[in-house]
């Protein structure tokens, strides 16, 4: 189809398609190996500086008590998350009742659903826009390993191919109780973070 070029930064559709295809192929080629989980520091308690422990504790208390969630709900695990947001399970008890539509105001990404390679560049982009420090919870079988769709032609086998994952919650989908336990595990992990290493 003949499309005129409208301006310098507005591209015709075929050009957008080509750029998109290139970006996806590049990402797919570069994400064949899983990104290691950021947890190697969890065991070395010995190096901790006694003087700064209290400052660390205060910072970590603030961070673990209000992880705001960025939107990443591609599939059905989102409904369990919505249920967990609701009055019955009420994750606002953990200081995270706010869902941030902008990743720039979020600390935590809960990846609730199957990821396809066409969607993967957007997820990485959202993750890159989140300010440090940031954490990721992989929620459900699809987010952990691709789940039953793992052998599909365009399914990313686990979010850890695209972004580093802190906590994995198995289940298809996990119950809200499971999600809450995962959030508590993440809070324990945040509490161990050394900010002045």
């Amino acid at each position: 189809m003949e499309v005129e070029r409208y301006g310098e930064h507005i591209y015709p559709e075929d050009e957008i398609n080509r750029y998109e295809g290139q970006a996806i192929e590049e990402l797919k080629a570069n994400s064949q190996i899983a990104i290691p989980d950021p947890d190697e520091w969890l065991d070395d308690d010995l190096k901790q500086n006694i003087l700064l422990t209290t400052v660390d504790w205060v910072l970590n208390f603030a961070r673990r008590s209000s992880p705001w969630v960025s939107l990443c709900f591609p599939a059905c695990c989102a409904f369990e998350f919505i249920s967990a947001m609701g009055p019955r399970f009420d994750i606002s008890r953990f200081g995270m009742e706010i869902l941030r539509a902008s990743p720039r105001q979020a600390d935590l990404m809960i990846t609730a659903g199957t990821l396809t390679y066409k969607h993967a560049p957007n997820i990485r982009r959202i993750y890159n826009q989140m300010p440090e420090p940031k954490w990721v919870i992989a929620m459900g079988a699809c987010a952990v390993s691709g789940g039953i769709f793992r052998s599909g032609y365009n399914v990313v086998p686990g979010y850890n191919r695209i972004i580093p994952v802190d906590v994995y919650i198995p289940g298809c989908p996990p119950r809200p109780e499971g999600l809450i336990q995962g959030i508590q595990m993440l809070q324990e992990k945040i509490a161990k973070t050394k900010n002045f290493a």
């Binding site: 189809m1 559709e13 398609n17 998109e20 295809g21 996806i24 192929e25 066409k118 032609y153 365009n154």
Partner: protein, 146 residues
Amino acid sequence: MTVALSGKEVAARLEQQFTSDIIESNDRFILVKKEAIHDIISYLKTDPELDFNFLNYVTAVDYLDYFEVVYQLTSLKHNHDIVIKTRCYGRENLSVPSIVDLYSTANVQEREIYDLMGIRFEGHPNMTRIFLWEGFEGYPQRKDYL
């Protein structure tokens, strides 16, 4: 309740114009030659007694020997519907005439069939992939894809 018209009766009506183009007709569907699909659907749409003004869906089925493209048409005025089928043989360079100029609903659905089954629709204004990205190899809904 929408009445499913017998393919035989509609085919009898089509016989006068499209004698050699109708391969088979029975109670459920009419099987026509793919070269004539645009003319036949155009006739079904414009004929005042049939008046099929709504396209329910276009889809495709892989039977390994051939691909079958299926159209279901409904008349919202007379409250009846009919299924039209056409076949294209082989695995490479398949093409079927597009009906986008008759029903604009077909635009996205024909792109989907091209994306997942690899059947080109001749005369479609934008015959590109819709779900998968440009540069994806193969057509994943085919039975011999993996």
